[in-house]
Structure formats: structure tokens, C-alpha cells
């Protein structure tokens, strides 16, 4: 067994020289003072202003907010796909750039973005085939692509091409692809947004099952309050234009969370709290308060 779950001090003790360890603190992701302004001919639009929060190792954080709250921009900055104008991002003690270079960042975009000429299995193997130098510096993933795919219920379609699968199955392949190379952190940008409600529910719980098995650090972006509450340990509610952290709503529901969790009073209470925060995020910035 590899040691993604080991406490950091233990990781440091058993770490071999020259090997990259998953950070030396209990902080998985630290976002501090991140700001971003997009400039165009029509002027400047402030997308994010002074966004700060910390995702502890092994925690599932969800960002939720109205359109224009810069959720995806923030995720892209964390993923190293976009430069922040102010502030910085530290992933397990490394800069975002280095984390990518060391293949510590698993990214699941809005669309599955599978390569149509590759089979399901070949698509999931893709991250293992690029930037091999980074792979050599770390332990081999604890689970093979085949194992991950069969956990996701895709064991029978390994040799199919993406076009032969439904939208929900394609999205599951995209998630499997992000898990396949055992990154330290998973960044998911509304991965279920294009799916119908029933498929979304199914995928939510499959994602939870997969997550329960190794408790990866996750930053998940969504529009759906229910989705946020079902999945998360903490919900980061963003306000719009510029995107700021409106509130951090902890989700203390017990894990593992089955499908019945959505029927509990506690669930509804948290859902209500998130909705209230979102409503005040829509209003004037001065109206919103932290919770």
C-alpha cells in the first residue's frame, strides 16, 4: 500500500531521498489573497478579489456561487491554467506550477474531454503516458486504470470508444482518468453540469464511493446546492463580481453518505443555510456576512 492517507509526519519519516512526498503540512491546498482581473478593449472586469481559504489534506471542498462569481476562474488558477494577478496558491507545500510539473493535480473539466480516437482504457491511461519523468519520481498508483474503471461500473466498456458511450458514462471515464495517476489533489469544474438529474445523482454517489476509498483532497465547483451538500466537508459560497468568499459552510453529515442522507433534517438545514448565503451573495456585498 502507498501512503496517501498517512499523516504528513509519517510520510516524511518513511520518505526516501529524492522522492516527492505529498507536502509536509496538513494543508492540502492553500489559496491566499487570490485576485484576477480580465482586461479587454471594453475595460477591466474584476473576476476574483482577495479569495483565501485552506483545504486540509483529505478534505472535500466545494465552491458554489452565482454565475460570474469566478468559480471556474478560481479553479483554473489553482490548476495552473491561469495566472493570478494577486495572491498565490500552494498545493501540498508546492507552488501550483510545481504541483502540475510533479503530476499532483488531477483535473476534471466540464465536458468529459476524452480523446475520441482512444478507447476508454486508453483514455484513462493517458495521464500515465505523458510527463513520465514526474511519474518516475513518485510511487506507482495504488490502483490500476482497469480497477478504477471497474469501481466506476465501466469494466465492460474498456475497449469501447467514447462516442459509443452515453454522456454519463463519458463523464465517469473522465473522472476515472483523473483518479488513475493518483494525484494529490483533484480539481473538478462542474463535471456533472451537462447531465440529466438522475444521472447526476448516480454519478454523485459513485464519486463518493470512489472518494471514500482513498480520501483525496478535492476542490469541486458546482451550481447545485444539493450536490454541494451531499459531497462536501466544507462549502465555499462565493459572491459575484468580483468573486469573493461570502461564507464557509461546514457540512458535518456523517460519512460514508448513502443516498438516504438527502432525506435527513440535518441535510435540509445545511441546504437551507447554503441557499440563504447564496441569496445574500446575489445582493449587495455589504448585505452578506460570514457564517
Amino acid at each position: 500500500m502507498t501512503s496517501p492517507l498517512l499523516p504528513p509526519e509519517r510520510s516524511a519519516i518513511i520518505g526516501e531521498p529524492g522522492r516527492v512526498e505529498r507536502g509536509t503540512s496538513s494543508d492540502g491546498l492553500v489559496v491566499s489573497g487570490v485576485g484576477k482581473t480580465f482586461r479587454s478593449r471594453d475595460g477591466a472586469t474584476s473576476a476574483l478579489a482577495d479569495v483565501s481559504f485552506t483545504v486540509p489534506r483529505g478534505r472535500f471542498f466545494t465552491i458554489i456561487g452565482p454565475s460570474g462569481s469566478g468559480k471556474s476562474t478560481l479553479l483554473r488558477i489553482v490548476a495552473g491554467l491561469l495566472e493570478a494577478d494577486q495572491g498565490d496558491v500552494v498545493i501540498f507545500g508546492e507552488s501550483g506550477r510545481n504541483a502540475s510539473a510533479n503530476k499532483q493535480v488531477g483535473f476534471v473539466p466540464q465536458s468529459p474531454a476524452l480523446l475520441p480516437w482512444r478507447t476508454v482504457l486508453e483514455n484513462v491511461r493517458l495521464p500515465l503516458q505523458v510527463n513520465r519523468k514526474a511519474s518516475e519520481r513518485r510511487d506507482a498508483p495504488s490502483r490500476s486504470p482497469e480497477e478504477i474503471l471497474s469501481t466506476m461500473g465501466l469494466g465492460d466498456v474498456l475497449d469501447k470508444r467514447p462516442a459509443q458511450l452515453s454522456g454519463g458514462m463519458q463523464q465517469r471515464v473522465a473522472i476515472a482518468r483523473a483518479f488513475a495517476f493518483d494525484p494529490a489533489i483533484l480539481l473538478m469544474d462542474e463535471p456533472f453540469s451537462s447531465l440529466d438529474e438522475l444521472t447526476r445523482e448516480l454519478l454523485r454517489h459513485q464519486l463518493l464511493d470512489l472518494w471514500e476509498s482513498d480520501h483525496k483532497t478535492v476542490l469541486f465547483v458546482t451550481h447545485s446546492v444539493t450536490e454541494a451538500v451531499v459531497l462536501s466537508d466544507m462549502i465555499v459560497v462565493m459572491s459575484a463580481q468580483p468573486g469573493r468568499v461570502q461564507a464557509l459552510v461546514p457540512v458535518s453529515l456523517p460519512r460514508p453518505r448513502g443516498e438516504l442522507v438527502e432525506l435527513t433534517d440535518e441535510f435540509h438545514a445545511i441546504e437551507r443555510q447554503v441557499r440563504l448565503e447564496l441569496r445574500s451573495a446575489w445582493g449587495e456585498r455589504s448585505d452578506g456576512g460570514g457564517s
Binding site: 502540475s100 488531477g106 474531454a113 480523446l115 505523458v130 510527463n131
Partner: protein, 260 residues
């Protein structure tokens, strides 16, 4: 289950019958016109086939020469155009510098400067390669460029978060994404290359081989049947090569929506 792609032999009659009838009519009209015109202006169908049958070796040799000109011209042009497109995708300033030149090359009729190229490169086979290469260069360049750029942006994001190198992005994403465009270019460029090779042969009859040269020589001797036979061989050559590109495309692009 994926649907089985129809093989050519398995095509239904409503697929192959209409073009066959149209071809039959074309041959019929040709024959009718030829029988009503003096033999020194239009060759009849049997005369054309007889010209082919009389000297199969000659036609075979000239076909190989024209084919060689096409292969070298197409191949070299593709390598240069694709390499240039790869550079252009990564270095914008190269695109800005080269594209206008390529456009000028494309809009100037090749037949106008073919003579100049012959004088420059001598009367051998070299100017034929150059003319054939130039005529297919622009479609190759533009399609390569569009193809290399037409990548799924989110797939590119996934590769970037893995810190994939430019080479890995090119090999694993850009190149396969560009294949449908390259095949589209291939289907345009094969007939263009035949035109290029024949035009070059018209202007370089000094090197007296190739189907275009054969047409020029035969017209000098008033051998109308040989001219018609050479045209027929050129048409068949174009058809076979285009069919080859299409079959290769089906094989390599079975994943692409265009092939279903």
C-alpha cells in the same frame, strides 16, 4: 455494438447503379460525337482502347513517371507545409510572416510561372516536382494549420495540468485531431497534384516522359487516339488515388463522426 461499415463490394445496387448509368451515358455520348466528327479531331472509344492496347508498356512507363512526380511533389510539399504549420501553431510571428507569402503563391496561376521555374531548375524532372509541390502547398498548409488548432480545449487543459511537453501535446492531441483535416486536404490535393504534374510536363517536354508529355508529343503527330488514351489513364489514375485516400481515411478515422 458498432455498426459494420459497408464494404465496397457489399454496397447496394441503388448506390452503385446511378453513377454506373451516368458513366455509361458519358461513354455513349463520347462515342456518338466521335463517330460524327472527323477521326483527326475526336477519337472513338474503340480507337482509344486500341491505342492503349497497342502500346501498354509506353502508357505504363509514362504513368509511372507522372506518378513519381506526383508522389515526390505531394510528399515534399506535405512535409514542408505540415512542419511549417507546426511551427506556426507555436510561434505566431512565423504565421504572420509566412501566410501572406503562401497566399500570393496560391493566387498566382501556376501555369504562369511554370515556364520561369523550368528555366530556373533546368529541363529535367526537378521543375516538375517543384510545380506539383507548389500547387498543393497551400491547401496542405491551411488544412494542417486549422487541424492542429482544432483541438478540444478542455482536453488541452487536462494535458496542461499534467505538465505535458509541447511534443506530447503535438503527438497525443494535435496530430490525431488534425487527421480529418489532413485527409480533407489529401482529397483536394491528389487531383491538384495530377494537374500540377501534367502542367509541368506540358512546359518541360524536353524531358519527354509522363502522360502530359505524351499528350504534347502525340498532338504534334496528330495521334488523337493516344491523346484520348492518355486522358483516360489520367482520369483512372486520379480516381484510384482519390479512392485510396478515402479508404485510408476510413481505416484511420473510424472514430471520427464523418466516417459513420
Amino acid at each position: 455494438m458498432s455498426p459494420r461499415r459497408p464494404r465496397l463490394s457489399g454496397l447496394r445496387s441503388n448506390v452503385w447503379l446511378p453513377p454506373l448509368v451516368a458513366f455509361g451515358l458519358l461513354v455513349l455520348v463520347w462515342q456518338l460525337v466521335a463517330t460524327h466528327e472527323p477521326p483527326q479531331t475526336v477519337a472513338t472509344v474503340p480507337a482509344t482502347l486500341a491505342a492503349l492496347g497497342d502500346r501498354p508498356g509506353l502508357f505504363w512507363h509514362d504513368t509511372l513517371v507522372t506518378l513519381q512526380e506526383m508522389a515526390v511533389g505531394l510528399g515534399a510539399s506535405f512535409v514542408v507545409a505540415f512542419t511549417l504549420a507546426v511551427v506556426m501553431v507555436h510561434v505566431r510571428v512565423v504565421e504572420r510572416a509566412i501566410m501572406p507569402l503562401a497566399v500570393v503563391l496560391n493566387v498566382t496561376p501556376v501555369i504562369a510561372y511554370a515556364q520561369g521555374l523550368v528555366i530556373l531548375f533546368g529541363f529535367g524532372i526537378a521543375p516538375r516536382y517543384v510545380v506539383t509541390g507548389i500547387i498543393v502547398f497551400f491547401p496542405f498548409l491551411v488544412n494542417s494549420l486549422i487541424g492542429l488548432r482544432s483541438v478540444d480545449r478542455e482536453a488541452l487543459d487536462v494535458l496542461r495540468t499534467l505538465d505535458a511537453s509541447r511534443w506530447e501535446v503535438l503527438w497525443r492531441l494535435r496530430l490525431p485531431s488534425s487527421l480529418p483535416f489532413l485527409f480533407a486536404a489529401g482529397r483536394i490535393c491528389v487531383p491538384l497534384a495530377i494537374t500540377g504534374a501534367v502542367v509541368a510536363e506540358f512546359t518541360t517536354t524536353g524531358a519527354s516522359a509522363g502522360l502530359g508529355s505524351l499528350i504534347v508529343v502525340a498532338s504534334g503527330y496528330g495521334q488523337v487516339a493516344v491523346i484520348y488514351a492518355a486522358i483516360l489513364v489520367l482520369a483512372v489514375l486520379g480516381l484510384v488515388l482519390t479512392l485510396g485516400v478515402t479508404l485510408l481515411e476510413r481505416r484511420l478515422l473510424s472514430w471520427h463522426p464523418s466516417s459513420s
